[in-house]
Subunit: 419 residues, 2 copies
Amino acid sequence: MIAAALRDGTAHRSCVFEVFARRLPDGRRYGVVAGTGRVLDALDRFRFGDDELAIARTFLDADTVDWLADYRFSGDIDGYREGELYFPGSPILTVRGTFAEAVLLETVVLSILNHDSAVAAAAARMVSAAAGRPLIEMGTRRTHERAAVAAARAAYIAGFATTSNVEAARTFGVPSGGTAAHAFTLLHTGPDGPDEEAAFTAQVAAQGPGTTLLVDTYDITEGVKRAVKVAGPQLGGVRIDSGDLGIITRQVRAQLDALGATGTKIVVSGDLDEYAIGALRAEPIDLYGVGTSLVTGSGAPTAGMVYKLVEVDGLPVAKRSSHKETHGGEKRAIRLARATGTIVEEVLTPPGIEPSVPSHLTATDLQIPLVRGGDRVSGLPTLTDARERLRAALVSLPWEGLGLSHGDPAVPTRFEAAR
Amino acid sequence: MIAAALRDGTAHRSCVFEVFARRLPDGRRYGVVAGTGRVLDALDRFRFGDDELAIARTFLDADTVDWLADYRFSGDIDGYREGELYFPGSPILTVRGTFAEAVLLETVVLSILNHDSAVAAAAARMVSAAAGRPLIEMGTRRTHERAAVAAARAAYIAGFATTSNVEAARTFGVPSGGTAAHAFTLLHTGPDGPDEEAAFTAQVAAQGPGTTLLVDTYDITEGVKRAVKVAGPQLGGVRIDSGDLGIITRQVRAQLDALGATGTKIVVSGDLDEYAIGALRAEPIDLYGVGTSLVTGSGAPTAGMVYKLVEVDGLPVAKRSSHKETHGGEKRAIRLARATGTIVEEVLTPPGIEPSVPSHLTATDLQIPLVRGGDRVSGLPTLTDARERLRAALVSLPWEGLGLSHGDPAVPTRFEAAR
């Protein structure tokens, strides 16, 4: 596309691209913007080095390769803040620049936002279902090795307490924590058979009694007894990774309390998703460890966002193919809320057109400047800001918006036409 | 775990870990091993540098950090070849080494195999459904930016013809190809409105008449007419990305033939999965472009493999928790087939025990040496070998194994106990 556009001169036309999702994943009530910070990091590094140019030369003409060698995005980007909610049509990112410089970013922008937002949306539902109890991200082994690092970041935005991915701690400052696996208990096997007590003793020697011991390798009741015997009643926690967690956690709580370990926490894990977490709400569980369903978006592994050209040289453009119509023209996004803070509508208007806001509602602009002249603007929200934003945004949803059941988007999106 | 095991001396015990899937994703008939080559690449690079050690120091004792600083895997790895089929329990990878050196690889090994095998299994079903027509991988924008490169590699193993991911071409030598997007057509809009012909003219000028023109931005019939007008009847292809592809492709084929463009290929894309591909089998379609469903494993985004300790100092070990039992002890894997080549059973035996093979069946060993003393063995299968292996393996399935409908694994797995 760039080769052809450089050749006929259209490459330099002034363009606006918008990132949005045509719809939310099946039955979801809201989306969560995540990945914007990673998009800006990627933009800083988005250059073509010798290796990349070498392969470009195998299928592109010299003029296009030269253009790639000099590539540096020089345009403007606006977008929703990370941690903000979005709904169908929400212009999550608006990229302004020449056709060539802006179209080249399509893939990296969508890859990041589609992945991170999918994980964050699933994570937010799990956090809601946990109703204040902390969640641990432990899905690294169930997704691509680099995707896992981004997933831990997205989960943190959504309210997860910690991650088991130390690289996410290193790269993004996500709080990290770990746990022992069954292999560690099994390792302590000798000619006389399993020796769970030796495993617990070794772990407590290394980590102190505040550690969490995995008690379900053999017999859970015996495991709990041994754990308290080794660590004392000040044992930090026990983890249970299998079985009927409702029944077992009640038994384990009673057993711990009877042993005087009233402060010992119960951590559960094992194929949990938002529904399983919700179903365990009445049980004496202190922490949930979530893996597979988190990193795979709990049934919606991609947010399905698209990157669409909406304006060329100031003129709105739109595809007319069946079922894939886009709304031409750059859009300003505002969200209307009642005095109570409950949101009622997402309104998209052409820039310069003041949206009609009923007098009993307040309007909040959703887009902020992210990049100007190719450079990231200063003072952008941090990861902690994103986490706080989502926490506040979820409170603003109409009550049915936090339901786990399938339904329509929590608020409608209205496209206001130019007048 | 390593800190505690270094302290009590168990870190140096001789261990065997096995990678396997307890079950296939819901209703799937077979799994496809993919990622083994990437695991070996990752092993070559698996070292702890200053940045990694700095964060390790924040939560690990000095002895453990020193051990990490010197880390280099020195053990042996055997495994199934890439492109091989697997079934529940198949020991896809067997890692032998000390506890500490082997347990440390769990996450990277599982991340790679779970991701790549999930994509390859979905891709293989799509290739089967396409019944010989080529498929193009174009899902990069719907998954994490690095996962996308691995997904393109996995799709190639599974039989996809090309990828739109140029980084996969650069890194792994996967054949790549591209296509124009609607944005390129929309770019050619002026004060007088859309100018599809200008877009087609620019593309043909840059790529020659053998290019594939996207004809569904406005009106498909007009688009096809303009495409042939601009490129002539030697036009390489037209792409259709929306609408009822069955009806439309028949109309477009008739129109192309009437215009003399009898050799022009029809490429379809747009939310295709293996079911949609199968349903279009009777239509005049020459190429399928597949994105989202491929990179997300078409409903099964992870293969759900686990990395389990099965042997310590020569003794079998196994977890006894409910529903998560593992079969202790290292296993040798063979596959039994009839004289026709059709496979009938996967048999797992303790090493040194000759499996019982009925006289009318032949047995094939499934594991090959991959790493010896920490070094990759020479002459391992290439990506092309993996592709050929899967092609041959799919032919060996019982006929119901290639069905797209949900069902049981195509062949059972039998665990043969030590005698």
